[in-house]
Symmetry: C2
Subunit: 526 residues, 2 copies
């Protein structure tokens, strides 16, 4: 393993001209790790964005199969990061070994999925409308369209996924797949991890002969603002808090030339527990739900933060079960002290609210997060109390009891946008509450039936997105192959000589991809 030197990654080289250094910490002990990271200067941020910009013309025009090779080489390099690496990540994040091993596989799998998408070619959305010189009253010209990368992309990784939503995470994978060079802002919570992963990406870039500057990484606090405002940056990917994401959105919108920001931010992921399901398997649901709430110390964007049930004897029994289970859940170490502080403050706000009752959980103190269960009056939702809709990042959830079906609908209508909503329901429940699905669709990116939202499959059909404030743009997803679309834009060629057309649009269709030709999908050459 090469030494961790903490220099910024700019255009294929390392750079450390600044004087401010940062340290990473052992998440469990709080002790500083023996590595120093040199905060990028404004000139270095500029250089990183310029390096990405310089790489863009060559990188975006590579055959998609070449970019696929790059992504696959990254995947191989990630898989090869061994036990020492896993130990380092667990040290920086307090996440358990098995979780990090799993996340490593998910991260390399994500790269391979995008490589597959690149080879499949549907991301091009190739369209050809052939000339109709005889058309009356005016002839039609030859028009062909496909999609290209938007330009250099700035990516901000998440605290809670040091691999899958970070340096080589989903946003980086999607941007690189789209042909967009990346400038990654290393998360202060796991900078040593970031360095190891960046090294893996750089090795893959060198092996596959990618242009220098295809991947850049900067360290530091406050460098993100300079990055997002840099004229070379054409889009932003972000996973983190509502406050942080919204600040980036506002900066990007205020630029002389505004750019899109895809921020995945805040979601309380309502879980609706319906009467027949509770009657039939209330205790099992309580067990599964408690497990989902405390999984990974509740540090998931899709943690169920709101549980809604309809007033009934079986709901009362369920609440008893859930309370008993939640009080049994052990404390866990959070990602860092800042996260623990936020969790404590979130709990304090819930405790302090006159219409919220604490149902279960050991007193929050010390270095670990204690799982908590609260119950809130439905009026908080109906009257738009923002406290209830604030994500409390950690192993806590809030239960709400609604009087009946009508109140359930009114309550759901008051929800902000969410990543997920879950229906725990039997067939009879779904017959009684058939209208719920249509309502939930309007609020969320993913509706689950009889499952739990933690655990996000990386595949073609996944949506990890949703209306604001779940994300800044409901039309995107940050997990799954559709994520590439955020970083693509269409370009059209009118009467372009065949020799000059990009390969996906040439008559011969040498790539054999599906194209919409005169309104019909075909893989045939013209």
């Amino acid at each position: 393993m090469p030494e961790i030197i903490g220099h910024n990654y700019i255009g294929g080289a390392r750079s450390a001209v600044g004087t401010i250094t940062l340290q990473s910490h052992d998440a469990s002990s709080g002790q500083a790790l023996p590595y120093h990271f040199v905060q990028a200067t404004p000139e270095e941020v500029d250089a990183a964005a310029q390096a990405a910009s310089a790489a863009y013309p060559a990188f975006r025009t590579l055959p998609a199969s070449r970019r696929a090779e790059f992504l696959e080489a990254i995947a191989t390099q990630l898989d090869a990061l061994g036990d020492e690496f896993v130990a380092l990540v667990t040290r920086e994040t307090a996440l358990p070994t098995g979780r990090i091993q799993g996340e490593r596989g998910r991260t390399s799998g994500q790269m391979r999925l995008f490589a597959h998408v690149l080879r499949r070619g549907d991301f091009y959305d190739a369209r050809i409308d052939r000339a109709q010189p005889e058309r009356q009253p005016l002839p039609r010209v030859d028009l062909r369209q496909y999609r290209i990368g938007v330009g250099p992309v700035a990516v901000f990784g998440a605290s809670n996924f040091p691999l899958a939503f970070s340096t080589a995470g989903g946003d980086t994978a999607a941007a690189l797949a789209a042909g967009c060079p990346v400038v990654f802002k290393a998360h202060s919570g796991h900078m040593a991890t970031a360095e190891r992963v960046a090294n893996a990406i750089i090795r893959a870039a060198e092996q596959t002969n990618m242009p220098k500057g295809v991947f850049n990484m900067i360290y530091g606090a406050g460098v993100g603002e300079t990055l997002v405002k840099h004229p070379a940056i054409q889009a932003v990917g972000f996973t983190g808090s509502l406050k942080g994401g919204r600040a980036l959105c506002d900066m990007a919108a205020a630029r002389p030339h505004p750019i899109p920001v895809f921020a995945e931010m805040s979601s309380i992921n309502p879980v609706l527990v319906l009467p027949e399901a509770l009657q039939l398997r209330g205790e099992k649901i309580a067990r599964e739900l408690a497990a989902s709430v405390v999984l990974g110390c509740g540090q998931f964007c899709t943690k169920p933060g709101l549980v809604i049930g309809i007033c009934s004897p079986q709901l009362n029994v369920f609440i008893e079960h859930l309370s008993a289970l939640m009080v049994e859940q052990p404390g866990q170490t959070m990602l860092n002290t800042g996260t623990l502080d936020s969790y404590s403050k979130g709990l304090q706000a819930l405790h302090a609210h006159p219409r919220i009752t604490h149902l279960a959980g050991c007193e929050q103190q010390g270095k670990q997060a204690q799982p908590q269960l609260f119950k809130a009056d439905v009026s908080l939702l109906l009257n738009g109390d923002p406290l209830l809709q604030d994500e409390v990042f950690g192993p806590a959830t809030v239960l709400i009891e609604v009087a009946d079906k009508a109140e359930l609908q009114r309550a759901l209508q008051c929800l902000y946008g969410q990543l997920t909503a879950t229906l725990i329901a039997e067939t009879g429940d779904l017959q009684t509450h058939g209208e719920l699905l249509s309502l939930l669709e309007q609020k969320v990116g993913r509706v689950l039936f009889n499952g739990y939202p933690t655990g996000v499959e990386v595949c073609d059909a996944m949506v990890h997105g949703g209306p604001y404030p779940a994300t800044s743009d409901a039309r995107g997803t940050s997990v799954g192959s559709v994520a590439i679309e955020r970083f693509l834009r269409p370009v059209c060629y009118q009467n372009c000589p065949d020799a000059l057309l990009p390969e996906p649009l040439k008559d011969a269709n040498s790539l054999g991809i599906a194209r919409l030709v005169d309104g019909n999908s075909t893989r045939q050459p013209l």
Copy 2:
């Protein structure tokens, strides 16, 4: 023909509670027309947005074929608007009869294209990843994704296309196709036209039994701000000036819950005239180019506002031809006095610049716009003088002479984002300047070869978009079938019972649409 009463269209009824009235004018004489339009009050704007919001749940869940019937009914109603209607539009806009007849056909054709897209079903982007209960280490759940309308859309029409980019124009057609009810802000330049067209839409909505509130229209100055800030509105379509579009973008970004704005704004549409082409057919090119510049009094977003040539004897000859032709072009009446004022001011700024020379054109005075040709020093482009990149809306264009190939590339790199760029070139030119295409792709939405950018085909492959400031979001187009994607967002269903799935995602695939099933495109049922 029903009387023009100038009341707002709210939820299928007419409303005029306000006290401010506006008048439309004869564009040629400046005289007020005998119609009064009642500016919507803030309460009426709210009611229009609420009506759209109320219509959304029912409208978005209609089978796509039902929305297609609605669009086709609108098309039929538009085609039926007869000579009296055409006369009215020409009166309000000073656009000639033939142009309005053509635009009417384009507008109904646009509706029919989206109806076709709805029946084709590719807009759903249906994706199914089937469950893999035996997968190790974790089973895979069943995940299915398709796209739904984002919610009510506010549309702002253009001055220069009273039909194709207005009440029943491309943005309205795309939003309705996507399942999004519309609140249209009538353009003050053609309110009588807007009323006639709104009546046609309402007739079609009634004929096809659409929910009330599927289409709403409000009159007035300043009502747009209330509309864009309304919480029910989920996206905005706009065609107009950079100033107006940017103001809407800023408002939308500053909302508590920001929404996307698709604004088509400002483009100077560079035309590159290359040496061999000039040598072979310089006079013809000059004729075609002059015709494109003055077409429709230069009131097209795609008017060639910048002509770039490489210093040579044939360029000199070409400039002489072009100057002679431009001076011959007659003055034309503009859309309204505001447009004429803007044109005059734009010309004054060009006249006043020390490094811009006036080559041809009668003095701008009186009630008509006089075609003009200017020549600017290339340093204006290289040094980023904003004047050169400002769109002058009207029959004027600016010529730039570059020293050589290298300077041409540097000049192009300095261009802002554009709707179009055009290469007038012979085979030899394209061999010498092969790198130009790659450079232009990065700047524009559409690259043309040996044609002129005015005239935008409505089809699957068209892109009428481009990087800022051509539009506010380069990932969109406001012409062509891809325009529907601006108003769609993906939703995912996890382990959803087949009976509850939307039709496009059910096992049976009764619609027979193409779906991505486990990574392969197929029309087969599961």
